[in-house]
Symmetry: C2
Subunit: 192 residues, 2 copies
């Protein structure tokens, strides 16, 4: 099982955003939608052994965490609107401290990074880390930020985490996920 | 200069599609929009040395080629709708056999793969190719298909092209572009 968690620092935490303007009205929700795509999609197939966590920190009810479970998700297409519609649906239901399913394979709960970090041993993906190609053993849970840097608080919380880079230069979160998958796929299949 | 060309077998060739349904009304235009993103975007920056060609083969006026030039494109954001809006704008202007600019860095012309192949020496990206990591010299122009296989005609036209694979398993075109960029970036910067 591989997990990706992406922090959406401005990502809205209720369903009152429009699918016609995911970047603006959603608080750069488009980035998180592309991360869902990069985490879960293969050509004509889905990565069933992957969970993707979106940690939403924007107004009006932060933080919330939306989980896409590759082994259970059903009505997800690769386009941004499709992931956006499922996130919107998840944010429209009442939330507690436990994950509650809003659609097959899509769940939501209150809480953000601190809670997630009690459940996974994350490696942080950022440009200052060790080259992932040269890493001996690669972990199975990865934490990324959206278009903004980690906050001081998040830096403090993740201070002990190993850090990996996928290579130069600094790229988008979803592109980073794609490259991590490539490295994991290659190792799994015995490619160089 | 690096070039990517993606064949959109069903992609519409006039502007009469809606940005609210890029997959359906646009003939899987969402795939091409994500390929534009993967070709051109860095974190908070643009790859100015990259051109991305979209070869549109759908109704009603195929084929047309839309070119996004990294060195000149201005009003492009990473979300699918943004690329979609520029493609739509390009498809709304009259076309001839020469590229005509529809917006800064976005041009369109009539014609498809045969014409493009007289201008670039393409390598084909597909899963049967040589592992790109082990390739001695990597070319600077890459041809990919969308969610459909190359047609028999396209296979014939590209029979002499070298073929590269980015690794197992079979993945989306935009993910493939991201991995090719990673390999090129690493070589350029002296990473392993």
């Amino acid at each position: 099982m591989t997990s990706f968690a992406i922090i959406g620092h401005l990502a809205h935490t209720d369903g009152a955003f429009t699918l016609n303007d995911l970047p603006g009205s959603g608080g750069r929700m488009d980035i998180l939608c592309r991360c869902v795509n990069a985490s879960l999609f293969l050509s004509h197939d889905m990565r069933r052994d992957v969970d993707c966590y979106l940690v939403l920190c924007g107004e009006p009810a932060p933080p919330k965490t939306v989980r896409f479970s590759g082994n259970a998700v059903r009505s997800l297409s690769p386009d941004e609107r499709s992931a956006g519609a499922l996130i919107k649906k998840a944010l429209d239901i009442p939330t507690g401290s436990e994950f509650r399913e809003a659609a097959p394979g899509v769940s939501v709960r209150k809480g953000g990074l601190p809670q997630l970090m009690t459940e996974h041993v994350f490696a942080v993906l950022d440009e200052r880390g060790t080259d992932i190609r040269t890493a001996g053993i690669i972990p199975d849970a990865f934490l990324l930020s959206d278009h903004l840097n980690f906050t001081d608080d998040e830096e403090l919380q993740t201070k002990q985490c190993p850090r990996y880079s996928v290579g130069p230069p600094c790229i988008h979160a979803d592109h980073t996920i794609t490259i991590v998958h490539n490295e994991l796929d290659r190792r799994r299949c015995g490619w160089k």
